[in-house]
């Protein structure tokens, strides 16, 4: 079970390998009926991929080399947009800083909290299904409604959070209008919907073979040692996959900041997606926004690659022999 979340990765590896194995071009009339049917069935997806994904992607690369305000003709300006981002527009750096800090805080915390709850759920308790459902509920809702609810919770004067803090004698800050707490607010909000992770980690934990723990018991290992030496390594592929997916997701955060802070105060919550939206759909700087999108894309790819590279050190795959 622990390998289930790595299914996707495994599928990619396996298919890349066999895809490169044989190559031979044949014409449509030479195909078998089965093959013709297959291509026909996949055709809608191919059309959609080319028209709505690949095409636009290439187009945005071309667009990023232009100055285009939608209502005037596009003008080729080479790499000027990219140069502007680096030297002329401090908001770009700010947006990347904000987004990175948020992602690198939120994602690991979500994983840690998710694993913690999953481990509690794994302690052969009663009412598992019910408890799991409750923890999952926040993960089902998203977007504007959630942002509105949290706007009320985080309100400095009468929000739920500050009321709770007031009970123990702490005067809470104005969470969303204070540059020091605004990002923490979004991290906190993201922790609420940790439920999806919990279910995945729970499946991972249930897949750890019991013999390992029994063997550790024989050796007199305590709970702490068992957690670090058995549990964590055994579910590390799951954690790894969730980390990658979580980062890709977090780096694209939009609805929350758009509704709750509009990037403020003083651009302290100016997420990249928010800035991108502003450039593209408020200032209609389509060229510049495309360049921004590409930088974010490359940034996500580089981060993902770094995580994958580092995984050799901290992710354990069964059947792999280390240090040989």
């Amino acid at each position: 079970m622990s390998s289930e979340s790595a299914t996707l990765m495994a599928a990619i590896h396996e298919n890349v390998a066999s895809a490169t194995a044989r190559k031979q071009k044949r014409l449509w009339y030479q195909l078998t009926g089965e093959e013709r049917l297959a291509w026909t069935l996949v055709l809608p997806w191919i059309i959609g991929f080319v028209a709505f994904q690949l095409g636009p992607m290439l187009a945005s690369l071309a667009l990023s080399l232009t100055e285009w305000r939608m209502f005037t003709p596009a003008e080729f300006i080479g790499l000027a947009n990219y140069a502007e981002m680096i030297s002329g527009d401090p908001l770009v750096l700010q947006a990347f800083k904000v987004t990175t800090i948020y992602s690198l805080t939120s994602v690991p915390l979500r994983i840690a909290l998710g694993v913690l709850v999953a481990m509690l759920l794994n302690a052969s308790i009663r009412g598992l299904a019910f408890i799991r459902t409750v923890y999952y509920l926040p993960a089902t809702v998203s977007g504007v409604a959630v942002a509105m609810v949290w706007l009320l919770i985080l309100n400095g004067d009468f929000g739920m959070l500050n009321r709770a803090l007031g009970l123990i004698g702490i005067e809470g800050p104005y969470w969303l209008t204070d540059t020091r707490t605004v990002l923490a607010s979004f991290v906190l909000m993201s922790l609420w919907s940790v439920g999806a992770g919990i279910i995945i980690y729970l499946a991972g934990l249930q897949g750890v073979p019991n013999e390992l723990y029994e063997a550790a018991d024989v050796d007199g290992a305590g709970d702490w040692v068992k957690f670090w030496r058995i549990t964590l390594p055994m579910i590390s592929p799951v954690l790894f996959f969730q980390f990658v997916i979580g980062m890709i997701d977090a780096l694209q955060e939009f609805a929350g900041p758009f509704i709750m802070t509009q990037g403020g105060p003083g651009n302290a919550s100016l997420f990249v997606m928010l800035y991108l939206f502003r450039q593209g759909f408020e200032f209609f700087q389509m060229g510049y926004a495309s360049a921004l999108a590409w930088v974010l894309f490359v940034y996500i790819m580089v981060l993902t690659l770094l995580i994958i590279r580092s995984s050799a050190v901290w992710v354990y795959y069964e059947g792999e022999v280390k240090g040989s």
Binding site: E34, M57, L120, V134, V144, L152, A196, F254, F297
Partner: protein
């Protein structure tokens, strides 16, 4: 004696541990549920009660009128109908085109299958923002702005790669002997898809439907880009407009938020068996 005392102390420490586990889980559950309760509680308050300290959890009086009021300040019934229409079309399009592709990947033998499947999976990693602007330009030149076409048409062309992946994984678990038997009995390959694979995959299809409903019902960025006419607004855009115009009417806003969350929570509650299975099955949440 010694043995007994060891086992006694063991079971005692086990009981202590279990108590700790239940307590921690209980506290966590309360924290998780509180925002929902707070939302519903606020939605039934008078404006004065919203700001009142100490906190009022059960409002007195209970202002049920907040619900009809919040739904009529803006044409929310229309927004709900609009959103339902878009969601329904997206569900039909994505399950149909997605399951066709998944069938080809899971059940048919063809050259190029592996390459195409990798391509499908690769698009999972493709962030929306890279294609957001050129897609907008494309749909603008097709005169699709301010229509539901940009929100619905892509669903009919395979939809999300995630759905294809999930369905393909599920189809793979169905015994191939069924296909062969059907074909010997004179069933066509498409018949295998329609008469055997689909009926056997109701659980997986349910999962996909729930994912799409959740996703589309609450989607914000895409409608925000493409819809301008307020009559065509989705629920999410309506909520946003509401929040913009009635910033301090918290009780009305929370009523609207509650109404908008309810269908999603209900769909999850009644379909959670499939849903949780789907999350575990793929290790990804759509």
């Amino acid at each position: 004696m010694a043995v007994r005392s060891i086992s006694e102390s063991r079971s005692k420490s086990k009981a202590v541990k279990l108590t700790f586990v239940y307590l921690t889980l209980l506290v966590g559950m309360v924290i998780v549920i509180l925002p929902f309760l707070w939302m519903v509680s606020t939605s039934l308050k008078t404006p004065a009660a919203v700001f009142k300290i100490p906190t009022v959890w059960i409002p007195n009086p209970i202002v049920w009128e907040n619900y009809p009021n919040s739904m009529t300040v803006l044409p929310f019934v229309r927004y709900i109908m609009n959103t339902a229409q878009i969601t329904l079309l997206a569900v039909i399009g994505a399950t149909f085109s997605g399951s066709l592709a998944a069938f080809a990947f899971a059940r048919l033998r063809w050259r190029g299958r592996n390459f195409m499947f990798v391509l499908v999976l690769a698009t999972l990693m493709l962030p929306f923002q890279v294609i957001m602007i050129p897609q907008f330009i494309l749909f603008r030149s097709l005169q699709w702005l301010d229509t539901y076409l940009p929100l619905v048409v892509p669903a009919f062309f395979g939809g999300s790669a995630f759905n294809i992946f999930l369905l393909r994984q599920y189809f793979m678990t169905i015994s191939r002997e069924l296909d062969d038997a059907a074909i010997i009995d004179g069933c066509t390959r498409f018949g295998v898809y329609w008469r055997i694979i689909l009926p056997l995959s109701k659980a997986a299809l349910m999962t996909v439907v729930i994912f799409i409903v959740q996703n589309r019902w609450q989607s914000f960025l895409v409608p925000l880009i493409y819809l301008f006419d307020q009559k065509k607004y989705t629920l999410a855009l309506g909520l946003r407009l509401f929040q913009d115009q009635y910033t301090t009417d918290w009780e009305l806003m929370m009523a609207a938020a509650t109404v908008s969350m309810l269908p999603v929570l209900l769909v999850f509650y009644f379909g959670q068996r499939y849903f949780i299975q789907g999350v575990v099955f793929t290790g990804v949440k759509g």
